[in-house]
């Protein structure tokens, strides 16, 4: 298999020297997808300011095909959770994610979005959005610089370009029986109910 792949790559290089471009449907499809990821116009806190800066002329996210921030989740491929997710806001974030069409991706930007950050011990802050929706790329930082967001974006592009369209390894959105919508948490008497979606959330285990 590995040998086969290598020889295919060699053949491709050889053909390109003669002006013949070869590709696979999967590569072409993923190339198109990764270069037209449209994020949702959605910001929560100070990280959103960095996200806005990333889209402006100096950092120019348009170079990656992501200049169109869509104001409707129905036209967006990517939700950048940029900032503190309060418990009061969390159901709305999940609902926005549910309204996006597949394939859809999530970048959790900054310490708050990935873990609650400096507000983790507070009574009103969700301890990471990955408790309710599947996150593709986590960016640490408080707030992360635009370069970090660009790096996360390129990581996401790499992830998209490596996704297989067939086989067992294919991503969630190509598996019919896997969900594309996730349960929206409800406001409870003491906090959100449930406190996490066990199917999505895989916390690190401490091995003793």
């Amino acid at each position: 298999m590995e040998q086969n792949k290598k020889s295919v790559e060699e053949l491709k290089t050889e053909l390109s020297k003669h002006g013949v471009f070869t590709t696979t449907f999967e590569e072409l499809y993923n190339w198109g997808r990764k270069n037209s990821v449209w994020p949702l116009t959605f910001g929560l806190a100070c990280c959103a300011i960095e996200m806005i800066a990333t889209t402006m002329a100096r950092y120019d996210l348009a170079r990656f095909g992501a200049e169109v921030f869509r104001a409707s989740p129905r036209q967006a491929d990517l939700i950048i959770v940029s900032g503190t997710v309060t418990k009061k806001m969390a159901p709305q974030v999940v609902r926005l994610y549910n309204q996006m069409p597949e394939p859809k991706y999530v970048i959790a930007m900054g310490a708050c979005a990935i873990s609650g950050g400096p507000f983790r011990d507070g009574y009103n802050v969700l301890k990471g959005i990955d408790r309710y929706i599947p996150v593709d790329v986590h960016i640490p930082g408080c707030p992360p610089r635009p370069e970090a967001l660009i790096d996360a974006f390129m990581t996401l592009q790499k992830k998209i370009s490596e996704q297989q369209l067939t086989g067992e390894e294919r991503p969630r959105h190509l598996k019919v029986d896997l969900p594309s919508e996730f349960p929206v948490p409800e406001y409870g008497e003491h906090g959100l109910e449930p406190t996490e979606n066990a199917e999505v959330w895989n916390p690190l285990k401490v091995l003793q």
């Binding site: 009061k88 983790r120 011990d121 507070g122 009574y123 009103n124 301890k127 408790r131 406001y187 409870g188 008497e189 003491h190 906090g191 406190t195 996490e196 916390p203 690190l204 285990k205 401490v206 003793q208």
Partner: protein, 203 residues
Amino acid sequence: MAEQTINTEGLKAAIEAAVPGCRVEILPNGSPSEQHSLILDNEHAIAVARFLRDDPKLRLDFCSDVAGVDWLDFEVTEKVKVKKLIDGVETEVEETKKTVTPGYLEAVYHLFSMEKKHGPVVVRLRTANRTDQTRVPSLTPMWRSAEYQEREAFDLFGIVFEGHPDLRRILMWDEFTDYPMRKDYVPPADDDEPVAAIRESGQ
């Protein structure tokens, strides 16, 4: 703003003269700011507030802050020397005496005058306790700017403002039943197991 401080003793006397029967207590502030506060009794609070707002010399027309404070029950232990008869002889014995003062909730109002350019006058209202009698009169009818801040104090401390036009939670959702800024509030031990375990293991 060129602020002139208002003499607290004089203010207390003026209030007591204007609102008969009211009880005003001065709570001194020992810091260099010397912002002493006045503790009003709940029955006459509205009348005193109206006086503070409308009196031509005071004209405290602006309520800048309403803050909630939670005072837990506090216990004072002191050693008292008591004379007792022991074996027919009067001897002095030291005894420890515990006094428990029940806790209460407090709403603190900071009042200024735009017209007279003076302030602040700090006014405090106290509830009877912090469990079942958590009512104080609302001063929103006197200062509209107190409306949202009283809602916030209601939301986070559970102070019930009687006479408030729209007393609902403002920051937390309506279904929420706790008062998270109270000192004995314990957040739900929801979901912090991995971090708790890491903290315990000391890594």
